[in-house]
């Protein structure tokens, strides 16, 4: 259950619309089911009252939408940002991807968002309703008469289990209290992999990446993948491809994508959230983040506007490429 309520957010939005601070609102719109929310633009109080929702399934990171939406509506656009979204927000500003003047950012607290897949693993398919109630949610299915009580903590999305920060690094206005950067365990999984033998690692990724259907959801949702034209869509790039014809192209796409966002990825976890095949793509990005932290010192993309990413920087005494292996894996 989120600390902040739908009503509070609507109230805030309505007042900002009323006093002309903003001319439209980027928010979550209710869908067919209680867990089903769609990002949408709201233009007035009626629309907000009718469709705006805020609950434990509002995981979408709005930052990327600002690139296109700031041009869509005249006047400022109100965006509600969860702590992790604010890092993407800053990173996009660092890369001059949207006009800060056209945005009114309201930071909202986040208690972590739920993953419907985890819910279904507990109570099965056929969910007819979800009632949010304190630390728990009451899930009713078509198949049992009594609702199943699930504690939200048990169904948190991976990225929220390993939440890196409850601190808003960018906002015009903050609802709720200032959060803190969290010393998370987000690199544990990466370390597990590093500790494996190369053969085990290869088998692991072979299995994961072989499921990729190249729907591009990971790329298209990623706040760092904002290229006007992606090299993989560009017939003149020499690496364009539409579908993973074989295991090489699966790897190629994900390695290059991870490399292109290396140092720019804020670890918002959207890629893993949207992957229809549940490939743990965040483990690629986190590897880069972890490496760069270890090689070049702690760096959090988006922590501030204008930070110089590790790969566009250097020192005279950086680690040599040949030395990066002498860590983790057993056979090094």
């Amino acid at each position: 259950m989120q600390k902040i309520t739908r009503e509070q957010l609507i109230e805030k939005a309505v007042s900002l619309l009323a006093d002309g601070t903003v001319s439209c609102v980027l928010g979550w719109s209710k869908g067919e089911f209680d867990y089903d929310v769609t990002p949408a633009l709201f233009n007035n109080e009626e629309e907000l009252k009718a469709n705006f929702v805020f609950n434990d399934f509002c995981g979408v990171n709005f930052s990327k939408y600002l690139i296109s939406k700031t041009n869509k509506c005249d006047g400022k656009i109100l965006v509600f940002l969860k702590p992790c979204d604010t890092y993407s927000f800053n990173q996009l500003l660092t890369e001059h991807r949207f006009d800060r003047e056209k945005v009114y950012a309201v930071g909202i607290p986040c208690e972590g968002m739920a993953d419907i897949a985890k819910v279904k693993q507990i109570c099965g398919d056929g969910i007819s309703s979800i009632a949010f109630d304190g630390e728990k949610m009451a899930v009713t299915t078509l198949y049992d008469d009594a609702p199943v009580m699930i504690s939200t903590a048990d169904v948190l999305a991976e990225r929220c289990v390993n939440c890196k920060s409850k601190k808003h690094v960018a906002f015009d206005e903050l609802m709720g209290d200032e959060g803190e950067v969290i010393d998370s365990n987000r690199f544990d999984e990466v370390e597990k992999l590093e500790a494996m033998t190369p053969d085990e690692r290869f088998a692991f990724w072979q299995n994961e990446l072989s499921r990729c259907i190249r729907c591009n959801a990971c790329r298209d949702v990623c706040p760092a993948c904002t290229c006007e034209k992606c090299v993989f869509d560009n017939p003149n790039s020499g690496v364009e491809n539409k579908s993973p014809a074989n295991s090489f192209e699966e790897k190629m796409f994900h390695i290059i994508r991870a490399f292109h966002v290396a140092g720019r990825c804020t670890d918002c976890g959207e890629c893993s959230r949207v992957c229809p095949q549940n490939i743990p793509l965040h483990l690629l990005n986190r590897k880069f983040i972890k490496d760069m932290n270890e090689f070049y010192g702690e760096y959090q993309a988006g922590a501030e506007v204008g930070l110089r990413a590790p790969l566009v920087d250097y020192t005279l005494t950086d680690i040599e490429p040949g030395e990066v292996f002498d860590r983790g894996d057993s056979d090094a």
Partner: protein, 342 residues
């Protein structure tokens, strides 16, 4: 109608696998299910359905059409076809079975797609009735009965038994192979099953979704609707919906230069992509709104127009559960349908 105890199901699989490759839904470590080739020890998934639809068996994501071998300035053309193997797809749901009809009308009518065609010929489909429909199911909307699934063989599964009914010649032949493992039986149990399923179907949240508003000849009604802007406004333009969709059939033909030759292959394409149907003059759908509209107009208007009112959606619900922003055909139908009804 024949039945066999579920304890013997692996024997059934083994028997089928003797004569041809057998594919069936298998649980994956991420909790979802996917079609895998059966081998000793493979366990049939209880999941309602797979993430990827069984259309892959007849219309794979990528498929080599031919190869050009170049040596210096000489070119030799090599036939790379390999779709002549017999196979059985087991455990296909009613919605997905229906999707084959929709694909057939595209690939097997005028100018038969021989790749698709021969895969269809070599494939036997064993469907199975749904035991636990999901809230995302809306196959009824398209007149599909999940309790009475089609295919070469229809199957019904209870707690303890599985029942088979052959619908086609191919089905008969396969069922005969299983005669030693199965026994003749009447339809009582199956009918109970059907009743159960239908009871659930009438409780589904999307049960009332209907297609009245849509169909052939409605192009002008919908094409210029202002609602498309709103519906498409947050679409990411990814291909998830089209790639998990059992009825999406668009593909692109590309050449891959291997360095010592060229492989001409086809691969799925998505109307959601900016490069979709790119022509010499550029793209004919310039914005995401137009691409978004194309997908739903195709499913709900253009296709029925050319196919005697048959819609090219089967209500499997994959796009509903997989769309990153959960915008989907149901929302489009409700919004659009509602709009014109008023």
């Amino acid at each position: 109608m024949r039945k066999c105890s579920l304890d013997k199901i692996n024997l059934v699989f083994a028997e089928i696998a003797k004569s041809s490759a057998l594919y069936l839904p298998v649980d994956q470590n991420d909790g979802s299910a996917a079609y895998k080739k059966w081998e000793e020890g493979t366990v049939w998934s209880n999941a309602l359905n797979t993430v990827r639809s069984p259309k892959d068996f007849f219309f794979p994501q990528t498929e080599d059409l031919m190869k050009f071998k170049t040596s210096g300035k000489n070119i030799e053309i090599i036939d790379t076809r390999s779709e002549a193997e017999d196979f059985v797809v087991f455990g296909v749901r009613a919605c997905d079975v229906k999707s084959f009809d929709i694909l057939d009308r595209v690939f097997l009518s005028e100018h038969v797609d021989s790749f698709y065609g021969s895969r269809r010929e070599h494939g036997v489909i064993v469907s199975v009735a749904c035991t636990r429909p999901s809230e995302t199911c809306f196959c009824k909307t398209f007149g599909i009965d999940p309790s009475e699934s089609a295919g070469d063989i229809s199957a019904w599964k209870t707690e303890t038994e599985i029942f088979f009914k052959a619908n086609t010649q191919k089905g008969e032949e396969l069922l005969n192979k299983l005669s030693s493992l199965t026994e003749e039986c009447d339809e009582t149990v199956v009918n109970e099953q059907k009743a159960k399923i239908n009871a659930v179907m009438n409780k589904l949240p999307l049960k009332d979704l209907n297609t009245e508003a849509f169909g052939g000849g409605k192009t002008n009604e919908f094409f210029n609707s202002p609602l498309w802007d709103e519906l498409s406004q947050t679409c990411l333009g990814c291909g998830t919906c089209t790639f998990v969709c059992p009825t999406c059939q668009c593909y692109d033909i590309k050449d891959f230069n291997t360095g010592n030759g060229v492989i001409r292959f086809r691969c799925w394409d998505s109307c959601m992509y900016s490069e979709f149907t790119k022509m010499a003059h550029g793209n004919n759908r310039l914005t995401q709104k137009e691409r978004f509209r194309q997908r739903f107009m195709h499913k709900l208007v253009y296709y029925p127009e050319n196919n005697d009112g048959l819609f090219s959606c089967v209500g499997c619900g994959r796009c509903i559960s997989k769309c990153p922003i959960s915008m989907n055909i149901v929302k489009v139908m409700k919004k659009m349908g509602g709009a014109v009804n008023e």
